[in-house]
Amino acid sequence: MTGVRVLVGTRKGAFVLTSDGTRKSWDVSGPHFPGWEIYHMKGSPADPNRIYASQSSGWFGQQIQRSDDGGKTWAPVDNKFAYDGVPGTHQWYDGTPHPWEFKRVWHIEPSLTDPYTVFAGVEDAALFRTSDGGKSWAELSGLRGHGSGAHWMPGAGGMCLHTILLDPVDPKRMFIAISAAGAFRTDDGGETWQPINKGLRSEYIPDPHAEVGHCVHRLAMHPSRSNVLFMQKHWDVMRSDDAGNSWREVSGNLPTDFGFVIDVHAHEPETIYVVPIKSDAEHFPMDGKLQVWRSRSGGNEWEALTKGLPQSNCYVNVLRDAMAVDTLDTCGVYFGTTGGQVYASADAGDTWSAIVRDLPAVLSVEVQALK
């Protein structure tokens, strides 16, 4: 490995941080697209210098930007996300039917093998795909149309499709998650979908065990073991060992099991990370102490990681797309805060330091290990 590139999306622009393999000093470029919200950026595993960015604005709508030189220069590609057919309605906050309306792209997931193919998760929740590098997008409408779509309801942040996991072994299998509908899986490349929420329990909905309606905040998977999924739900950290067919809670000794992010160590499939947040009413760490919690047993037994993180008067949040890991020999872990810091650990979470601070609120963090 020759270096690491961290892609940071913020409320007011994009930033690209680079370092050599030691990950001790960092160069910061940006803001790219100053003043625009950058919900997510992600590079193509097949061509790491190709990076896609979701750029949006309440005034001017959605843009997709593409870089072919590792984030040095960018060009807008297409910005048209049209639902397939008559989009119909989903439930509004008051339970009334509400027309499906495109608002923004929350998450971009490039294909593992083709730099021109990318999936996009959008609000109002739907999945789109491009096969021409972002020049045109088409909805995979089997997801919205599988039967329960009319009953989906937005979470507080909107009805967003925020997680897309591509199975490295089975290219036809994909997992997605929607707030507040739940998790879904396709086994046929996106044609048909099934909800995979058995075992989830959400006290805040009329039927706590409902097939759909759960506020899933994030899913994570280790690429070597795609049948094992981890979930940070609104409340509860969950685990599935059967590709989502069933879930069990692994919150264990976490001080609070509310949170947004969850991720898996690059080389240890049973080592997972979360950032506990006090509650859904108070979106900041407990007692003003910013802590990453790590489990080396795939859940239930957790340890607080605090070295280098503020342990007093810290009241930031860590949003659902704002944690990532690199694949260097000693796994690096990164997360960004709504206070504008990006913290990194080059030793799998044992020690942390801010690699940049005072950015606009961080919406997303992705990492690329460069050869």
Partner: protein, 98 residues
């Protein structure tokens, strides 16, 4: 030639500086002006008008000659001063948000 002033974010997005001078085919209306603008700068499609409905995005306003033209019909003629180029057509982002 019709003079068009974009908000700063769209100038940056379309990579233009200052006013845009547009030739508009036929009668100059909001619709024909925006059609001409989007033809010259395709990256502006969807940023001023919704892709599907072609309606003005909610947080944008159209001003000219010290008048708010935002609610004028899309096919109504633009003011004479705009058509003659003596006054610009202003596309303005609403003062909202943080």
């Amino acid at each position: 030639m019709i003079r068009v002033v974009l908000p700063s974010h769209l100038r940056m997005h379309a990579n233009v500086n200052g006013e845009i001078l547009l030739d508009v085919d036929g009668e100059a209306t909001q619709r024909s002006l925006l059609d001409a603008l989007e033809t010259r700068y395709p990256v502006l499609r969807g940023t001023i008008r919704d892709h599907g409905t072609q309606k003005r995005r909610p947080f944008l306003r159209f001003f000219a000659c010290q008048r708010d033209l935002s609610h004028e019909p899309a096919d109504a003629p633009l003011p004479d001063e705009v058509r003659s180029g003596s006054k610009p057509f202003l596309i303005v982002g609403a003062i909202a948000g943080g």
